[in-house]
Amino acid sequence: MIGVHTAVLSPVVAAVAQILVLVAALAAVHAPLGAYLARTYTSPNHLRAERLWYRVVRVDPDAEQRWTTYLMSLLGFSLVSVLFLYGLERLQAHLPWSLGLAGFDPAGAWNSAVSFTTNTNWQWYSGEAAAGHLLQMAGFAVQNFVSASVGMAVAIALVRGFARSGTDARIGNFWSDLTRGVVRVLLPLSAVAAVVLMASGVIQNLDPHTALRTVEGASQHVLGGPVASQEAIKDLGTNGGGFFNANSAHPLENPTPLTNLVEIFLLLVIPFTLPRAFGLMVGDRRQGWAILGVMAGLWAASLALTTWAEMAGPGAAPQAAGAAMEGKETRFGLAASALFAVSTTATSTGSVNSMHDSFPAPGGGMLLFNMLLGEVAPGGVGAGLSGMLVLAVVAVFVAGLMVGRTPEYLGKKIGRPEMTIVALYVLTVPALVLVGTAVSVVVEPGLAGVQDPGPHGLSEVLYAFASAANNNGSAFAGLTTGTPFYEVAQGLVMLAGRFVPIALVLALAGRLASQTTVPATSGTLPTHRPLFAGLLAAVAIVVVGLTFIPVLSLGPVVESLS
């Protein structure tokens, strides 16, 4: 039915219509889901299932942790996650439901273990050819839930830092936050989403992949697996690791334009809703609106540019072919591919329904820029809000000076300790991206993976490291990363790109929570007005822009000007 309708609509109308439907759906759930999230993390009550779980793992969910304890709990949990996943991957051949697949080699297992624990879900392997059902369900799917919940926990801890006044740096309980995120938010939402996806044609079974001979005599590979359940959390938790190699371009993961829209909705829904929870928790919903406005504005601008580049953009090949359809699924078309690509790079998802390598240069550059922005518009579950709040601190600092007061954000003074933390945060990811890319384009094993020489090759490598450092996980394709060099390097970058910023955000949260909140006066710079929101957006773009303009100018810019 959908196919019939889109056929009679002009492409532009269809593009606008699906964006409007998406925005309407996001707007409809914004207030209720935001309130639910805020309640999830502030309610003093525990569910019976949660209490049982706390007793099993022997933690006291009501013990408020200082930021250092919170961080140690988080790192300890993540370390165990990496080791468990590593073991599962290495021992796959000896475990049930392996579909007869071999274990991962050490470099590959390290890369994937880190990749899923850090919410990156970079995949050097092909899902259907390397991972059996047990690894998918007990390994990857579990990390899809918990790594997303870790991201939300960190953001909530930061929000508590702003909301609390004069504590001794206590910012909540990691185990409680982690558990509630999974039990109260991710599990119920992804259960609903999985049912919707199944109803729309996504498969859900435990069948092995089987080879058949068709009536015509051709051989065909029929794939099976618990796809819908994994697909739901893949998008909802901004994970992005596909069950199959083709990810959301695969018809069994994403069969129709409707499932496509559902998946885009899923990957945007929590990141765009967290600002509401933030506003509620700091007791000023307008602050949430301002953050949401900046996120939505940047996302919309990126979408507009990419869609324009897709549908009317320059480039010799697309013009010769009539449209930039290379690397796209015909059942989605250009606009839906652009919408998915922008949303997946602007969040930290990284699932794809088209090959980003094939986007016209300005569009591909935009996707790259979305990630380089630090994935803050709206960003990964939790990580996006954290990143945007850190940028807000930078914006407040500059703006505060310009109005002649010691800068303060939400009643917290931004002094030397806060600026040190924020400066390190802002430095970390660009350093990883630039150094990683620079090393890779000069050393032999790095250059070996580059498919296209010249500016496009540079874009490919830059994209890979931007994706790893920002824990996105999408690949530009074109770059062969299944080599020990990239597996190890990417693993290190993913690890540092995830946990260094988390440590800094928690330190900031602790610092803020121990400060006494300063009441706002009429001399305080209001941070909920469009003026400040505009400044925040400008800071985000300028900070990133100035850092990456040189390398971008040798990659996507040169390509675009060709």
């Binding site: 002094g415 390190l424 660009p430 890319t437 001399g523 100035l546 810019v557």
Partner: protein, 745 residues
């Protein structure tokens, strides 16, 4: 004993009417705001060169990086001489030099002031009282046995005697006597001031000169750390430590520098990959252009100049932290008396009761006040003379006034007749007045003025029957005046032995200084709440507060109440500023975040505050707040400007670097710069010259007008953000037009 001739009153100070300084307009600005002059620049040159020492420069990471870049390019230019390399090296050195020059110029202004002050520090001889024979009785007789010692050997607690013509040997409190003192060496105020024991005008400053009389002074500061010593250290900047906000900004600038170091360092691998290896020279040039050199170069100059601006307004901040805190102040405590009002109640109106004419009342009030030397009394005479010029005293006027001084205020008016007897105010009668001798028109005429109840008692005492209606009318008048914040003064008269009768009420009122309402409106616009502190009762206080336009009132305030109020505000996270002079104020001054002590005040107050106002003008708090804000705004504006500049520099340099390998990048050369070499050099030159161009702004500070935070942000973003974006496009293009003419480039 030596007398410091330089400080002798002749010429500089004109002895005459000594002033207390409080609330008086300043006679002369100690230093008029100076524009940047060539002489200043020339005198700052040696200092600027000394500051190029990397061991000094490393405290500013941004400029240190530039200096390293300058060294590297110089080496490159020597190893491989070339016009381009030579020019780049020269301009990088110029960039560093302009930065040190800015700081040096800022410091030189203070140095001039310091040398003036140092002149007051001549070694003098003190007459120290021999401690054993120092008894109160001997003190009051002022004949204390003294020994002559050098002033540098004085210790805290020593007691010295200083007579007219002598220089005070150190800071201290007057413990006996009263003297007029010439403090022009410290305050720049030429009129002498009164210093006396007890009360709030007891503090004397070392280096100032006693003009008349003799005082006994207890030394409160050891030699070497006196007020003048601290002033010298402050204005010279030798004690300058970075303020918290400056440190935070430096962290931001350092992280930006690291980001750009990374961006430029990794650019070489990308360039190699792209087949266009860059020379180290070009990379250094790019780096210097990108890092925030404009603000990095001017940051310390801005801080020093901020302190200097305070000194120019005769305020000494004991720490830069206090100046910064001033910009953040949320609550301002101001004493009513002397700050918001003129300090004395003044007569503003005469209100006769039924049965008396306005003229009758005016005449009586005037007569009763002619000999009254209190400011209130004088104000009654002035009011009557101004508004009832035809008033005759109703007595014969042939003779000279009893005492010429009593008439000096009744300009052209008529004095008291011979034989008039003054009735002075006493706490028992709570009245004052005059008894006029019997004349042709009647018997002895007694006029009394005072509080309503006291006068009423007197009237009844003379046998007068006050009717209920009259009593009520008077009570209504009295209440009306009191309710409006005034003080009612009831006037009555008795002629001969007839019963006395009440004539009416004179309204005495605290008069709010002109322009106070506007100043409080400004404060409100800046987000600062003003609180008036007064000992008056609630009704009076509220009425004056409403008239002056302050936000809040602390009435019937004791020093403890004041301290409690400050603590309460601070617990709510607010920053409090206050001005004070008395010993009573010291705890509150110490507790407040910005405490401005009046120079006329006690040493306890000066010790407790973190600023001292040499003019002793409490309203200066408002200016101090503005200077604090201006300091931060200047930093913020130049940071924004500096970062915004980078975009144009990218447009200049990146195409120049890579146009040979990617010709399509020429599309980014939007300024159409002549050649890659001239483009890079023009960007470097612009980067250096903009520092030079902004030195005056950094010394003067960005213009500040009280406005809401949003309005300020919008304005400054527009000027320094958008301006910073556009200016370099124009500037680099213009420089390129010249640079492209250079031979060999």
């Amino acid at each position: 004993m030596t007398i410091d001739i330089r400080n002798a009153p002749a010429g500089s100070a004109a002895p005459g009417s000594p002033t207390t300084g409080a609330g008086e307009p300043r006679a002369a600005q100690r230093t008029t705001p100076r524009a940047l002059t060539w002489a200043q620049v020339r005198s700052a040159l040696p200092g600027a060169l000394r500051k190029l020492d990397p061991r000094v420069l490393y405290t500013s990471p941004v400029m240190f990086v530039v200096e390293v870049g300058a060294v590297v390019t110089t080496v490159l230019a020597v190893v491989e001489p070339g016009v381009f390399a030579g020019w780049i090296a020269v301009w990088l050195w110029a960039t560093v030099f302009f930065a040190t020059l800015a700081e040096s110029v800022a410091e030189s202004r203070g140095k001039a002031q310091a040398s003036t002050l140092r002149a007051t520090q001549k070694q003098t001889t003190a007459r120290r009282v021999v401690a054993a024979q120092d008894t109160p009785a001997a003190r009051s007789r002022m004949d204390l046995p003294t020994v002559e010692v050098p002033s540098s050997t004085l210790r805290v607690g020593d007691v010295v005697v200083v007579a007219a013509g002598e220089t005070l040997p150190g800071d201290g409190d007057v413990i006996e006597g009263v003297a007029s003192v010439d403090e022009s060496a410290v305050t720049g105020e030429s009129a002498p001031v009164i210093r006396e024991s007890g009360g709030d005008r007891s503090a004397v400053t070392g280096g100032t000169v006693v003009l008349s009389d003799q005082v006994v002074v207890r030394i409160t500061a050891p030699a070497g750390s006196t007020f003048v010593d601290r002033m010298i250290a402050l204005v010279e900047g030798s004690e300058r430590r970075r303020t918290p906000n400056e440190v935070a900004l430096n962290i931001l600038l350092t992280s930006l520098t690291i980001v750009f170091l990374l961006a430029v360092a990794t650019l070489q691998p990308f360039a190699v990959y792209s087949g266009s290896r860059q020379s180290l020279l070009v990379l250094v040039a790019l780096l210097v252009c990108l890092i925030p050199t404009t603000i990095g170069a001017l940051l310390s100059a801005i801080g020093i100049a901020g302190m200097d601006r305070l000194v120019q307004r005769n305020v000494l901040a004991m720490s830069g932290r206090a100046v910064e805190a001033a910009g953040d102040v949320d609550v301002l405590l101001l004493d009513k008396t002397g700050t918001i009002t003129y300090g004395n109640r003044r007569a503003t109106e005469v209100l006769p009761v039924a049965g008396a004419t306005p003229r009758e009342l005016a005449v009586a009030a005037r007569l009763a006040s002619l000999a009254d030397e209190t400011p209130e009394g004088r104000s009654i005479v002035e009011l009557v003379d101004a508004h009832h010029p035809s008033v005759e005293c109703g007595v014969s006027v042939g003779s000279e006034p009893a005492d010429p001084t009593h008439t000096q205020h009744s300009t052209g008016g008529v004095g008291l007749p011979d034989g008039a007897e003054l009735v002075v105010f006493s706490a028992v009668t709570r009245m004052s007045g005059v008894d006029l001798p019997a004349s042709a028109t009647g018997g002895v005429r007694r006029i009394r003025k005072g509080a309503g109840s006291a006068v009423e008692l007197w009237v009844r005492g003379t046998g007068a029957q006050v009717s209920a209606a009259d009593g009520e009318q008077l009570a209504a008048l009295v209440d009306a005046v009191a309710g409006e914040g005034g003080t009612p003064l009831v006037v009555a008269e008795q002629v001969g032995e007839a019963p006395a009768r009440v004539l009416g009420v004179v309204r005495l009122k605290d008069v709010v200084k002109e322009g106070m309402r506007e100043r409080f409106d400004q404060l409100r616009a800046m987000g600062i709440r003003s609180v008036m502190v007064t000992g008056d009762n609630q009704v009076t206080a509220r009425a004056i507060a409403a008239e002056a336009g302050v936000d809040d009132v602390l009435a019937e305030a004791t020093p403890e109440d004041k301290l409690a109020l400050i603590r309460r505000e601070q617990e709510g996270g607010r920053l409090v500023a206050m001005a004070g002079d008395g010993t009573n104020d010291a705890p509150a001054l110490a507790q407040s975040d910005v405490g401005v002590a009046m120079n006329t005040g006690t040493s306890a107050a000066k010790e407790a505050g973190n600023m001292v106002d040499l003019d002793s003008d409490p309203t200066k708090l408002i200016e101090i707040v503005e200077i604090g804000k201006q300091l931060l705004i200047t930093r913020g504006a130049l940071t924004t400007f500096s970062v915004a500049n980078d975009i144009a520099k990218y447009f200049a340099i990146l195409p120049a670097m890579f146009v040979t390998v990617f010709p399509q990048l020429d599309a980014l050369n939007v300024m159409r710069l002549a050649s890659p070499g001239s483009a890079i050099l023009s960007a470097v030159i612009f980067n250096a010259l903009i520092i030079l161009a902004l030195i005056p702004l950094s010394l003067r500070g960005v213009r500040y007008r009280p406005a809401s935070a949003s309005a300020l942000l919008r304005r400054n973003l527009l000027i320094y953000g958008v301006g910073g974006l556009v200016a370099p496009f124009v500037g680099i293009k213009l420089i390129d037009l010249v640079v492209s003419l250079l031979p060999g480039l």
